[in-house]
Amino acid sequence: MSTTYWETEPHHHEDGASTNIGFWVYLMSDCLMFAVLFATFGVLHGSYAAGPGPQDLFDLRLVAVNTAMLLLSSITYGFAMLAMAQGNKSATLRWLGITLIFGLCFLGIELYEFNHMIHEGAGPQRSAFLSAFFTLVGTHGLHVTFGSLWLVVLMVQVAQRGLIPENQRRLLCLSLFWHFLDVIWIGVFTLVYLLGVI
């Protein structure tokens, strides 16, 4: 005679029921990766190797504009989610498009800044400080790049299939990703740019 004290049948889960928490755990692991890059930058932030430092390189007005771009893209994505909750497909697509434009503006300004620095001879190979800077800010920029790609793919999906539950789930994941990147950017502009210039 045998008695089982645990459930032998696997739980039944709805499709995508665990996506939210799973994606959240991914974001947390991404956060740990950024923490390592922040720690590296923190350790190396004074190792200029007699090269240019933050006060010579950073243009805070440009960083402020960049911060505004990302913040605006965050709220327009929020409006896209509200339009999605109301089932308004065209408004969702419109807000996603505006979000994409702000995201691309952010990337354009960041690429301009990187290009400008490298032309001034302040590339990632110049000093440990600059290596850490380009790794940290570049990784964030890569995230925004892939987020923008994801945004384009989802816009095509929504345009073709509408706001079906699968697309709603995907849009929710991207919204977490997008807002998460804005949170990371708060750390970047505070610890890298502002504290560097003080």
Binding site: E14, D15, G16, A17, N20, I21, W24, V25, M28, C31, L32, A35, V36, F38, A39, T40, G42, V43, G46, Y48, A49, A50, G51, P52, G53, Q55, D56, L60, R61, V63, A64, T67, A68, L71, S74, I75, G78, F79, M81, L82, M84, A85, P165, Q168, R169, L172, L176, H179, F180, D182, V183, I186, G187, F189, T190, L191, L194, L195, V197, I198
Partner: protein, 122 residues
């Protein structure tokens, strides 16, 4: 549980919530940028404190208003995993800075600030 109810219990927020978060974020971004661009306080540590304080508050604003974090989402697992992450992040960053600072001061006593570039501004 239908797909729709999954989403609604996670929450999409409201116009009011997003606008509140946006306005607070603008204020909490403008304060540190304005402060640093104006040259900061006499006391450097006070400036650093205000800048970091604004960042911490803004992160919390983003988490509540944009990421819709609360203690109920996913039966508290979202909050728990976030708290765990915060602890690890603090240990990692504070630990790295602490260890490497002592390593630098103990291993390279003569490597002083002579190698730093000339401060051009401020």
């Amino acid at each position: 549980m239908s797909a729709h109810s999954q989403h609604s219990d996670h929450g999409h927020g409201s116009y009011r919530g997003y606008l509140t978060g946006f306005v607070l974020s603008v204020i909490l971004t403008a304060i540190p940028f304005g402060l640093v661009m104006a040259g900061g306080f006499e006391n450097r540590f006070l400036t650093v404190g205000v800048v970091i304080g604004c960042a911490v508050v803004q992160v919390l604003v983003h988490m509540v208003c944009f990421l819709h974090m609360n203690s109920r989402a996913e039966e508290g697992w979202t909050l728990l995993s976030t708290l765990f992450t915060v602890i690890i992040v603090v240990i990692m960053i504070a630990g790295s800075l602490w260890v490497m600072f002592h390593l630098n001061t103990n291993m390279m006593p003569q490597m002083d600030h002579d190698l730093l570039p000339e401060r051009l501004r401020g």
